[in-house]
Symmetry: C4
Subunit: 503 residues, 4 copies
């Protein structure tokens, strides 16, 4: 137990079959964990028998290794002066990336949330981009999430006094300066060393609510500690097969002051994100890659499974009773995708639902949250005479939001608030906390302007009659084009300068 | 008061904190005005302590500085011989532009209104292009304005005697040679030194009505003076927070013979025109740009606010009574976007409404005027038994018009006339008054031909049955494409010359 | 009268103000005709005072000049040996074109009608391509004509004996080997020296009916003479303001055995074909081009007007009685575009109508013939209990047809036959008579195959239930794309060869 | 009869007019067969008078020549040592292709069925690619087959215990590990020397059913012999004009244990596959190509006819009785395309139908199988009160399937199983049997994940309410774009790095 290992001894365990590593001065036997490591085994094997702290720190919550490895794999402390120092070599690609970081435009040139994505893609590590930006299968649903908003048009009102406009609201009884919350997204440290703390700080400054993810790179308590007094936070929960673990997490969250428990229900298994998988292959050493078809092992698939292996695919409606028995926090189901399940959630006493397809990362050809919202509002009115927004049963949507106009469309249709995820990740990946701060300021500016242009002094005035949703469910794919005909068609040309046409 | 300043004295006030400039021989303290200048502070600071007349003249109405600066900032005359002459240096970019001006094709090669835009973009100053061409947010509404016309198809009639065809009409009781008026657009001198006067002259020649903008670069009286006897003009009004100012403007307009007062109601705050904002950043000195996020000041945003700072966001229906008390001109609301507000305008005694989204420059995802027209005609018929076109309550649309066929579609649906803005700006930016003249002639030619082809001897014969508007409200966004599938699909090829395939 | 001029004398009349030319040994004063010449005045001025025969012959019917010029401008014969020989210089562009002619693929490589267009565009003179391929305004209708067929889908039947399939039919009582006729198109010699004769010969060989155009490059009698015994021909008529001329033409046609008179009713004025107009400007000498806006003369416009100047825009329903008084030929109106006019034509005793928008060359945003067909069949059934195809009142469509499947869709909907124009022009422009022959053979092959695949032994079995026309009238324009979002979206990639990804 | 020929004698028959070849040591007179050879005559003429075995073997079933040539053309054995050895020369193109084969990525990098197509296109012979990938006419239907699935969206359910998910099923009473069968496709050896055997082996391993094609490159018995004990196989039948041949084939299939007879009913004549035809021309010697139009012979067309010449276009409903008299196998019609024919098949006692348009290779503008499925289910419910999936009358679809989600959509709508063709061909063309193995594994993985994400523990839970098919029949073609307007429109730009915009 109190045995002190020497670096030399650890160093002998440096193979795939017998692999120890050192993190924060302690040694761990990770041999059995290798195939389950979400980041792949290769990156661990690089540090087999060595001190992996420098590589480990920027990506993992401090307790990741201790909570994931069974106690018998905790080998104890290593005498510090016996451990060889490990230097991280910087690749040319990484150098080029750092060069681009230095060339970021000033934040005042970032005019909208799209801009953060452009800059982030250029300045963040490739694997972070691949992880965040990827979505399921052909990414149809991912793009549909944004496109769906473009099928909704406004019917603004005029000649209303909009000298003062107010877009603040309350979410689950908590004040929010705008009808937007920061949605839970995993592994924030991939994009920025401060990870989710960037979100906490900016949210605190702007009076916006953050939803803390189960799979954060920072520990839950680190995030809670970063909040300012009175700052509201929600918690997103992946339900563990081991309910004791879940109970501990939930009750700890409640004890620390979390105001809403969002249980993810759309991820009994993580989706295929092939952009991410393909990136992994490129990062691997080709000489190591398994021979075609020879062993039936799909290692990338394995990685996806590993990260989700603790999530319980057996979670079902009967579990709701148990959740209510262990917490008083309002319970919201995140990932509802049809009115039947929204109704069930209402009947079983949930405080609300998030109409979401997990940012397009789970079931391909799921419909967008905004489309489902219209369906849910319609059916719950018919079935239970509910009107929305509704204090007792709140509707949220997420996915594809880039503008305050998107949010206002959801509000007009009955949503209490809208979750925004990737744009804030891109904001901090490119500019840290200041980026998120600026992103929220952009939203504030857009809300102010668009409330005025809609003729709505407050969110109460943003009503269903203000949107035209006739085509919200039009899933149209054009007939394939006649390429022979079009290749023959000669485009019209405009007039040209003499220089071009005559000289 | 009668104090004569020396150039030397003025020259000492040459900092951001203490900034004087000379215009037309008089000195002004513009220190406080710097952050509000629509063109940005930088261009003023360039002339801090100096004579700015040469830079000022091409862009501003002569009285812009005197009306915008409070009297106490008017510092009095400067002794002319004490003022150092300021030379405007011509950049390489500007030289290239002037070179392109020399290469403009002859007007007879300009076959349609699109051509003016092509040439104007090449020969006008970049900031003028950015200001005119930009629109709100993602410019969806801006493009939709044009696209909406393409969802309306004709049902032409045959075997009618169309030897003589007549497309003249009356607008608010005034004769017009075509069902088109020149819509109000701001800052005409950005595109051409004569600014709005180009429009006045060509309109006078063609018997077309011009709507004079509040934010013209030429003064209102200059424009009125440029009209030929009997020429009809309308006036577009931004309502000032200070109603006394508004009253003075309106009554002066009426006194000078304006025949219709078009009150803009869709701009309580100016929209985000990011193309314009981005252009401004490029024009700025990068070394001056505020450090990312450090002060929360969004200077571009500030510019947009400055130009609109006098506009009253408190304008509302109750104000209409007051307007009627100060003028006998017919009052038309410009910027109505749903039937409910058109009905309200009718019930409150307006002479008409312009169904408009401000050229796509205000609320993004506003519907096109032509789409709203169909809705308004339908509902006002049901609610008040009105038929259109209607002498008592006239409907106008603007936005996206490029062809006489567009206009005839609006007329068929019930519009009295259609406003055209940008195309005429592009016409004079490229060719001055002659450009506008030619643009109007093109429209005349198109009207003659299309009236014949429609089988309509006069506008009375352009009736609803002549258009198929089934899909006017179809806001369709295709399902995102399957890029994997399409990247695998090999296009069909046509036959090829032997040279290509065999040699 | 019998005076013999000398070439020298003619040569002195060589200015725009006094312009004589020699054609086929006779002199003509064309001064007044210059501005009306469809091909522009410049090409005539090039031969002012000279022998223009070599330039004239390939484009004009032999009698074009004698019928277009009033008798007093016929100056009489010129002594042959006094005339200087004129050499036509061949431009580099023309040499390149002739080089491409030599590289045409063999006809057996031409697999479909699209291929002719590809090759024709490469090997025909640029002005011929511009004239044939151009259409009105933005060419939306032109392309819609083809696109409309792609909104109609088949419901084929199986398990029917299709060993023998028969796609022959009768049109206006005349046999045709397929439900297709060769539609009238003007100026055939632009594409090939034999002009319309190419069509006559191939039509005769294949038992297909040709519709002879008023504006043929070959004379009417030349075309009639080229027919084989028993070959059926129709005649397309532009009605002349001078009804005596029209009467002479019609009665001559009847006398020569024409079996159907197709009166064009969609062209009281010729449409704006800007592609053609732009080509004309490029062919002009830039130094000659009128100064911008200086004289108000639109010369290109003038050309279009000239060719159509004899067409009577006063033609109307009352004229039908007169036509019936001068001929016994069945009368068909060509260019009907809504059911109301089809009904009128039926009620006034026409033998049929061609539902056509003139190949998209007249009114922009006219609907396609195939779309109008569905409307006409529906309404005439309701209004007059007619069923189609109908021997007494036949429906034809033209525009956009490229495949036998297009034709079969029209037949299923009730058309007796379909007119095909441009594809045959492209066929002879690229390969002369053999090209048209091959084009017809391709159609035969396609008919045979598609009748089998439809499960239709004869055209009688091609019934409305075989087509799904739900979306025939869906004039959809997608919401403009979000370019910011899409520029950020990173496409999925497929797997790659190692060479690309690893080396 | 027992005469032994010498190679020298055979070598004298080496012209188009008198052509013998040697295959597997026997000589054949193929003179009359030349124009009918599906692969063209040129490749045979290359071996006129020589030993063609090396060229013959990889493409043909061993008995192809003996069954296709009448007995009198079988000339008998050739003395082996008298035959000159023929070397196949490898072209540069072929060498490059073999180079690409060596660079194939490992199978673990092949993430989905699309990837096989990408790799196959790069590594398979060009003519194989042209044959497999081509489809009818403009290939609209071919692409629509895939696109149609994208108009169907999911309505997944949550909170269901999906710890165990089961996607196995039974097809025609036979077990299948997934609701997918390997559809019949011709000429497998074009892509891989083992041809259809690749499919047999992988199907056996995975418990999936293979449908053996009439036009396989391997002989029927070879394929049957390659199956593992208990492996289920179906048979696809082209009905021969000579019913005795058909009877022999059918009864042999039944005797060997085939469990379902799929009679192709959508190919009375093979479709025009112009991509394939064009490839053939490129492969031909240009000097041989017939002069344009000179003889009316369409050689490519001839090839298509040859391969299908034995297929009976007279096949009709009355033949079904005969089929039932000669076999007890369940009979399924493959290629039904409307509900009327599905109903007829049901009424006449078929065991099911495949709703298919032959992979888009037959009638262009046929609707996709998935669209027809919705129609069939709807009408058979109304007409015969059938519900689906249905043990007594099973519905299958094929065409355009690339993902398990596609399959699950079909299952939700009532299909028993889905046929997949091209993807498996591409899999073995790129990787042989291992490729098909991996393709099936991918489908298994996708089924597992998507069943979970749908909330469906078994296929019984995949119900109609889980799909939104509102737009399944929306055959939309957008109005042609306004190219003038769009060429003038300047796209919005995102923020840029300083490096790009400033340096």
């Amino acid at each position: 137990m109190a045995k002190i290992l020497s670096g030399k001894e650890v160093a002998t365990h440096n193979t795939r079959e017998d692999c120890w590593i050192i993190v924060h001065g302690k040694a761990y036997d990770v041999t059995d964990f290798l195939p389950e490591h979400p980041g792949g085994s290769k990156i661990i094997l690089k540090y087999a028998g060595k001190d992996a702290t420098a590589e480990y720190d920027p990506i993992h919550p401090p307790d990741a290794i201790t909570t994931n490895l069974p106690p018998e794999k905790h080998l104890g402390s290593v005498a510090p002066d016996t451990v060889e120092k490990v230097e991280i070599t910087i690749t040319d690609e990484e150098k080029a990336r750092q060069g681009r970081v230095a060339l970021r435009p000033s934040l005042s040139e970032v005019l909208n949330l799209h801009d953060f994505e452009t800059i982030a893609r250029l300045v963040m590590p490739e694997k972070a981009w691949a992880y965040y930006s990827s979505a399921a299968d052909d990414e149809i649903t991912h793009r549909e999430n944004h496109a769906a908003y473009h099928r909704i048009w406004f019917r603004p009102r005029i000649m209303r006094d909009v000298t003062q406009v107010d877009w603040s609201t309350t979410i689950l009884g908590q004040k929010s300066s705008m009808p937007v919350y920061i949605s839970a997204t995993a592994l924030g440290k991939l994009g920025h060393p401060d990870g989710e703390l960037n979100l906490t700080r900016a949210a605190g400054k702007h009076g916006v609510i953050q939803m803390i993810p189960t799979l954060a790179s920072c520990s839950f308590d680190q995030i809670m500690d970063a909040a300012v007094p009175g700052q509201t936070q929600f918690f997103q929960l992946y339900v563990n097969k081991d309910r004791a673990v879940t109970k501990r997490i939930v009750q700890h969250a409640e004890a620390r002051g979390i105001k809403g428990l969002f249980i993810t229900v759309d991820a009994p298994q993580l989706g295929r994100r092939e952009k991410d998988m393909r990136q992994k292959f490129e990062a691997e050493d080709p000489s190591e890659v398994t021979k075609a078809g020879s062993d039936g092992v799909d290692r990338s698939q394995g990685a996806a499974r590993a990260i989700s292996s603790f999530i319980d695919p057996g979670l079902n409606w009967d579990d709701l009773k148990w959740f209510k028995s262990i917490t008083k926090m309002p319970i919201i189901l995140k990932g509802v995708q049809c009115w039947e399940d929204a109704l069930e959630a209402y009947d079983r006493g949930c405080a609300g639902v998030v109409l979401s397809n997990h940012g397009g990362r789970q079931l391909e050809f799921s419909r967008s949250g905004i489309e489902v919202l219209a369906e849910v509002v319609d059916h719950l009115k018919r079935a239970r005479k509910l009107t929305f927004p509704n204090e007792k049963f709140q509707l949220f949507v997420d996915g594809g939001v880039r503008r305050a106009t998107d949010v206002l469309k959801a509000v007009a249709l009955g949503a209490t608030a809208v979750g925004v995820g990737r744009p804030f990740i891109y904001a901090f990946s490119a500019y840290g906390t200041e980026g998120v701060d600026h992103a929220l300021q952009i939203l504030h500016d857009e809300f102010e302007m668009n409330m005025r242009l809609l003729g709505a002094p407050s969110l109460k005035n943003v009503v269903p009659e203000m949107v035209d949703t006739t085509h919200i469910g039009s899933h149209i794919v054009s007939v394939p084009d006649d390429r022979l005909y079009m290749s023959n068609y000669e485009s019209l040309r405009t007039a040209e300068l003499k220089a071009k046409s005559k000289l």
